[in-house]
């Protein structure tokens, strides 16, 4: 799937859109590659769970890093850089979700007999996450898998930091209900 053909430029964060032509500000190869090594697996895991599609996550991962590279923005710290990356990934996943317009598929493992309790629990989680709204999936993953603060989640998801607490509470309660069901 050629993600570049369907992804609009508007998925870039606002401050990055103004810097797309700033080729000179781009990261050098060593910095970029080191950053990719540190962050690509968590970003991929995030994309898999918020889109529910590992193949789409593969495509979105590459697109995320391309947009990040092209933005050429300068960040105050590693956490700002990381938040910006997750924001790009979030926006790309949302755009792909809008185009796809269908529920999350949870693929069954090839060998059902080989599944242990842990696999079953993971499948239950994937299914339960699939029943949540995209924003709820994003918030829950960022809070508990990434350990992001409320302010960071607000920045990535694009809502006010004041509302994160109640959004997170509701999402958590709903997910717990689905997991017990």
């Amino acid at each position: 799937m050629d993600i570049t053909a369907v992804m609009p430029e508007t998925t870039l964060p606002v401050e990055c859109q103004t810097q797309t032509s700033a080729a000179t500000a781009r990261m050098d190869e060593e910095t970029f590659r080191a950053f990719y090594e540190r962050t690509s697996r968590p970003v991929w895991a995030y994309l898999v769970r918020i889109t529910g599609d590992a193949q789409l996550a593969d495509d979105l991962l590459q697109e995320t890093y391309f947009r990040f590279y092209r933005a050429g923005a300068v960040y105050e710290s590693e956490s700002h850089r990381r938040n910006s990356l997750f924001r790009i990934a979030t926006n790309l996943a949302r755009d792909s979700g809008r185009k796809k317009r269908r529920g999350i598929d949870v693929p069954l493992p090839e060998d059902m007999h080989a599944m242990d309790m842990r696999d079953e629990r993971r499948m239950d989680l994937a299914r339960a996450l699939g029943r949540l709204k995209p924003q709820q999936r994003e918030i829950l993953w960022l809070a508990y898998a990434q350990g992001s603060s409320h302010a960071e989640i607000a920045e990535i998801v694009g809502v006010s930091s004041k509302s994160i607490k109640s959004l997170l509470f509701r999402a958590r309660r709903k997910l717990a209900e689905f997991l017990r069901a």
Partner: protein, 147 residues
């Protein structure tokens, strides 16, 4: 009604990340629905993340870097071609307008002998104009692609 805030949530999250829940905290979790939800959700998410990170088959950083560079250059080239084409069209329209204006001023007193006689004086500026029309977009193209 489920309590929205529990002062022990941070402890629960700490226990999830360390994988150890003390007896006293376990008792609290059993009596606090909010912390029970938190423990259940956070532990499921943390375990799933660890498994996904282990399973991830991601492209190498070198490949991603190379692709990002290639795409970036292709986009810059496409932008340059678009700009050059636009400039070329503007210049052609300008040239046509100038040519029409020149012919228009000559038409009322059109005398073929004088046109032939003044042929040389008209030819040189026209050649200069044509050369400029060809070279200007090329110059713009190189200026933009270097950027």
């Amino acid at each position: 009604m489920l309590k929205r805030d529990c002062e022990r949530e941070a402890e629960v999250l700490q226990a999830v990340s360390s994988g150890r829940v003390g007896d006293e905290l376990r008792e609290h979790i059993a009596s606090c629905p909010g912390c029970r939800d938190l423990l259940e959700v956070a532990s499921a998410v943390v375990d799933d993340r660890s498994a996904l990170i282990r399973e991830a088959r991601i492209p190498s950083s070198g490949l991603i870097w190379w692709r990002a560079n290639m795409r970036s250059r292709q986009q810059a080239a496409r932008t340059a071609v678009r700009t050059a084409s636009f400039v070329q069209i503007v210049l052609l329209i300008t040239a046509a307008a100038i040519a029409f204006a020149l012919v228009g001023t000559k038409l009322p007193s059109l005398d073929y002998r004088s046109v032939l006689a003044s042929g040389m004086s008209v030819t040189i500026p026209l050649f200069a104009l044509a050369a400029w029309l060809i070279l200007a977009p090329v110059a713009v193209y190189f200026a933009v692609t270097e950027e």
